[in-house]
Symmetry: C2
Subunit: 429 residues, 2 copies
């Protein structure tokens, strides 16, 4: 049974604030363990990787092989169900199209003072992408991480993925083949992040690491941030669905469950303006839960983190929605664009009655790697620019330096930096 | 005496690699101390801030005042030397102009499948900017951090700055007034970062924290990354100057020293294609050092971290320059744009013989907050987008969902996520 709130309740503000602040992330402090693993890999390189893989994934890399060969990927793609292959290729095509439009423009102009000014974008050389193994081995994650890197123009994409017991999901390999991943290593966990950040004898270090992972992977990415770039600090994901009573309650229940089935820590929240409709959706959730193969996970998520919030008017929900700053926001109402205009904080928004969030997870085009845990307040989904960086530039001649130089001299002297001032003064003499 | 290398030396590669990998950052592990300070502020709020400010900055906030009033900022601006005021205002104007051009475009289009797709940018609500106090109290840092936030459309800019002994640099206040900073608090160090990230009774939490600081501030920013956004992990700064013998060696020496005078950990590296010219620059550096008020700092930096590298042709320096991935790169040669085209990794580039790096520190327009310590391989200077975030969106109707939905269903089922598939299937029935 999910939490039920109404803005009409006297204790609404207190309960809603508690919902906003509820920590769904594990509180267990694994930072010291992660630090030790990273140190082990930095010190002992491949030997540490072999040892840690034996320990955590239960296989010997010397026996199973360190890398997955291109032949294995090709074979996985060739033997794929044709229907799935078409689906993966459509997804790849649409993801590529959308991300092509994210490539930033260079700037280069001469300003009023005669200074040539601009900025140029370049891709990083090497990107590392982490793909979870086992239960959460998702081919869609491969596409969503590798394609933006390719579009950016990265030279090499190095994928790491744990293969518990040596097993690897052929769909993941097929997706890697479609996305043109350059190398795949059978390693995972914090040790894989350490190898990508610092390099080992076998694995060359990368410049940027992206991709989802468990708490150990997330903490390792946080710890190597600054040595390499990372996409974001990720936490449990969430959806906020805003729905009026003109929606089939069964559809909305499915949308809530599509988030809940990910993980017991996921969160699904419904805003509606009709208490009876809230009851109908709730009943549909309960009915659908019983049919789901993912019942156990979804039930735990819905019971522990789910919520139904009844508001008198949707306009009043805007500030509440912004406070939740959800990864996914569905607006299943009459004029969704009007409400969307008033929303400031959300990772990705799904508008209208025919845009279930799940379509965005796979084939719509925009990235499904999105800020979670209220981080949409300040961060964005994965983008081509996460695999690029900007170099600004300046070019003065004698005339333009004489126009802006004196002000720089005055400021340098005021800041107590005489060599700064001299480097300009000498040129103006 | 700076390091002297030549690509003709047999041990060049080994020595150059050592130069690239030399750690100039303090190795002292302060992370546990910073963790303790952050915990103190989270637990004890303003009381912790008062206590820590007394301990580290030697003044009692209840006595000196927690905030700097707008009247004080106005007074600082009014009593400023008119020449300096003009310089600050020119700098602000040019920085604003350049950063206006960084505001990203929204996207909104209907694709071939009939899906409306796009992305909208919004500013974060509150930005915190850290401005060091004491010796390195730079008004230019105020402009370079606050103006991009204003251009982004941030609602409130909260500045924190330590005021050792209660003293504050009036230039910093004048710059804050020009840049329209909303609040200024007399706190600094890791405790100020903790207050901005988590909030206290007096200080409301922010969404993004930017600005330079010492090792404690940098570590605190690293630790709160994910709770808030941060600009970057900053280290000691550096310049690489590429100069032929047609440059006045005295100019080039001043450029090298303008970096060296910042801090003993700064690094200045000269590439030249003429060994005699290298000697001339070296002699000029020694001569200028004796005249500098900042002699002690600059001498230490030049002796410990400086380098002169003689190459036979500048084209051969390209890969070496990329390996250094310097914060600042000066190309004082005949056709600097041609060489610049071949460079992939640098924070900011200064082209030609009349573009000393110092002009970019103050008045040119592009941001002077740039990636240091080889991080230009994967990160960029501070930008308007650091104070904004992107929300992607999707809108399907029945027809477009029927076109792309089946592929999403196939992938969701293959990934073992039945509720994902159901949320689409129900709408296609």
């Amino acid at each position: 049974m999910a939490l039920r709130l109404s803005t009409a309740d006297t204790d609404f503000e207190r309960n809603f604030e508690a919902l906003v602040n509820a920590r769904r992330e594990a509180d267990e402090d694994i930072s010291a363990d992660v630090t030790a693993i990273i140190k082990d890999v930095r010190t002992n390189g491949d030997q540490a990787l072999q040892h840690l893989t034996q320990k955590f994934d239960g296989h010997d890399l010397e026996f199973t092989g360190w890398r997955v060969s291109e032949a294995e990927c090709e074979a996985a793609l060739e033997s794929l169900d044709p229907n799935l292959r078409i689906a993966l290729e459509l997804a790849a095509l649409r993801i590529r199209d959308y991300h092509e439009g994210q490539r930033p423009d260079n700037r280069d102009y001469i300003d009023d003072a005669g200074v040539r000014i601009g900025a140029r974008w370049n891709a990083v050389e090497r990107a590392g992408i982490y793909i979870p193994g086992g239960r959460a081995a998702y081919p869609s994650s491969v596409l969503m991480n590798a394609i933006p890197a390719k579009v950016a123009g990265v030279d090499k994409i190095i994928m790491v993925t744990p293969t518990p017991g040596g097993e690897i999901n052929p769909l993941v390999l097929a997706a890697a083949q479609i996305a043109d991943v350059d190398e795949i290593w059978r390693i995972g966990g914090a040790q894989a992040i350490a190898a990508l950040a610092y390099g080992t004898e076998k694995i060359s270090s990368v410049d940027v690491i992206t991709g989802p992972g468990n708490a150990w992977v997330a903490e390792a990415k946080r710890q190597v941030y600054g040595v390499v770039g990372i996409d974001m600090v990720a936490g449990p994901s969430e959806i906020v669905v805003v729905a009026d009573n003109k929606n089939d309650p069964d559809w909305i229940a499915a949308d809530l469950l599509s988030q809940a089935e990910h993980d017991p820590t996921s969160q699904s929240i419904l805003f509606t303006d009709d208490a009876d409709y809230a009851d109908q959706v709730s009943a549909c959730v309960d009915a659908q839960l019983k049919q789901l193969k993912t019942e156990q996970t979804a039930t735990a998520s819905w019971a522990n983190n789910g919520a139904i919030i009844v508001v008198d008017r949707f306009e009043k929900a805007v500030s509440l929605i912004d406070r939740l700053a959800a990864e996914h926001l569905e607006l299943a109402i009459d004029d969704p664009q009007a409400l969307f205009k008033r929303i400031r904080h959300a990772g990705s928004v799904f508008l209208g009655r025919h845009t279930p969030e799940a379509v965005g997870d796979y084939v719509a085009g925009p990235n499904h790697v999105l800020p979670t845990g209220r981080r949409a307040r300040f961060s964005s989904g994965l983008s081509v620019t996460d695999f690029m960086k900007r170099t600004s530039f300046l070019e003065c001649d004698e005339a333009s330096l004489s126009r802006i130089g004196p002000a720089a001299i005055a400021l340098a002297e005021a800041e107590g930096l005489p060599a700064h001032a001299e480097s300009i003064k000498k040129r103006l003499r």
